[in-house]
């Protein structure tokens, strides 16, 4: 799903000028940054209620593609500055977390893989390909 569609679906607003053709593979929602770091799949959109710069740092480490701030929250100026520097698009939406997630999921955006095993580490990881 393109970032453009995500912005439309959550009736959001990009915080700064952004490449809306970015491809988003999956979605995740968390206010706990360690939960975000537990995602095993790169290329996600993160929905969160936290607005501090750490969200961007965490996104950088976990290879998150874009961040959506829910419930009308505005990211702090430091957060915006860091996101610009790191090239991570920020979007705000007035929708509450549950509603935003629900709409995206219904529109076909699937959940990020958060299996506790890291697939590229364990030879007995996801067996979907071996079946």
């Amino acid at each position: 799903m393109k970032l453009r569609e995500i912005v439309e679906i959550v009736e959001g607003t990009p915080v700064f000028e952004t490449d809306l053709d970015l491809e988003i593979g999956c979605g995740a929602a968390a206010d706990l940054m360690s939960d975000v770091l537990a995602l095993v799949e790169p290329g996600a959109v993160l929905l969160t209620g936290l607005c501090n710069p750490q969200v961007v740092r965490t996104a950088e480490m976990a290879d998150i593609t874009a961040i959506v701030f829910v419930r009308g929250k505005q990211p702090m100026p430091e957060t915006i500055a860091l996101a610009k520097e790191k090239g991570i698009p920020l979007v705000t939406t007035a929708l509450p977390m549950f509603e935003a997630c629900g709409r995206l999921h219904q529109a076909g955006l699937r959940s990020c893989d958060i299996s506790c095993r890291i697939p590229w580490r364990t030879p007995d990881g996801p067996d979907e390909l071996s079946q």
Binding site: S34, L37, R57, D63, C116, W120, R121, E128
Partner: protein
């Protein structure tokens, strides 16, 4: 093994539209089974979508043909023998979704549609395997080139053990700069052409350890990332107050973080578990609860991974 696991990752990245067969041979409901037989034989295919007036109405396979043959119904129309309203997959979905569909439904092929529901291709397990292998081959060539550059550094600098060490100071309570050390290390590893999935693991490890130093220490500490030929070693060292009970600290959910840290989204008590998940080796030391050292190794190649397993 490295190739197989990359294949699993690719299944997430590659879209169905990139691997499907685009020139679809279709039949109409009015075709007879005898005609279908000729079409399947001439195109060497084992099934075809059934289309009427531009709309996908069903799917018919060689199994249906065999049944009709056995029952002597080769004059029957495809429309009466097909599977109506077939399960479809979307061209913009990941290949992994298609793999799940194959496993769930047990069908041999899925018609591929675009967002408007229009038929744009057909997907078999063979298409998936061919598509992923092609992608893998392209990446392999790219990676070979990068690897050569990386290994070159170690070939030119000869010693008993050559390594590159990145050293980053981390201040206690300094949330404004939190993550900077990890960010620097992540960038450096990428420049050194370490594989992206390994960079990501190293970044998560350094970030969690950096946050621990910021949240829990009185005087800060240091993060070191040492890149050797076959492994990355990450060390986080601080000057206290130390961890009184390491086993307890490793319990998921155990946390001594104050409320203001939790408000920032940290201190949920799973940081060390995240570290453990990403590490091939991990050692935590905090003698007499005076200082803490966390040492993590991430193996860069298969030989090292196997040697590590044998030692364990």
């Amino acid at each position: 093994m490295a190739e197989i696991t990359r294949l699993q990752e690719l299944a997430y990245e590659v879209k169905i539209g990139e691997v499907m067969t685009k020139d679809v041979v279709t039949v109409t409901p009015q075709n007879t089974m005898a005609e279908l037989r000729v079409i399947l034989r001439d195109h060497r295919i084992s099934g075809a979508p059934v289309v009427e007036g531009g709309e996908l109405v069903g799917i018919i396979s060689v199994e249906d043909l065999i049944k009709a043959l056995a029952a002597g119904e080769m004059d029957a129309q495809v429309g009466t023998k097909m599977t109506p309203r077939p399960v479809t997959v979307r061209a913009d979905e990941s290949v992994v979704m298609a793999i799940r569909y194959f496993n769930r439904h047990g069908y041999g092929r899925f018609p591929v549609v675009d967002r408007a529901g229009k038929l744009v291709g057909i997907l078999t397990r063979g298409d998936i395997i061919r598509g992923l292998l092609k992608q893998l081959e392209m990446e392999y060539h790219r990676e070979e080139e990068l690897r050569y550059r990386f290994s070159h550094i170690f070939e030119e600098l000869i010693s008993d053990l050559t390594s590159i060490t990145l050293r980053c100071r981390v201040e206690a309570q300094d949330f404004d700069r939190a993550g900077e050390a990890s960010s620097k290390i992540k960038r450096a590893l990428t420049r050194l052409a370490v594989a992206p999935q390994l960079v990501r693991r190293a970044a998560i490890v350094t970030y969690e350890l950096e946050m621990n130093i910021i949240i829990h220490t009185t005087a800060g500490g240091e993060i070191l990332a040492e890149i050797q030929r076959d492994r990355i070693i990450i060390r986080a060292i601080d000057s206290g107050p130390g961890i009184p009970d390491i086993e307890q600290a490793l319990q998921p959910g155990f946390s001594t973080a104050p409320d203001w840290v939790r408000e920032m989204g940290f201190g949920a008590g799973v940081g060390l578990n995240n570290v453990q998940r990403c590490a091939d080796e991990m050692l935590i030391e905090s003698p007499g609860a005076q200082w803490t050292s966390v040492k993590v190794a991430i193996y860069l190649n298969r030989e090292c991974l196997e040697a590590g397993k044998a030692a364990a």
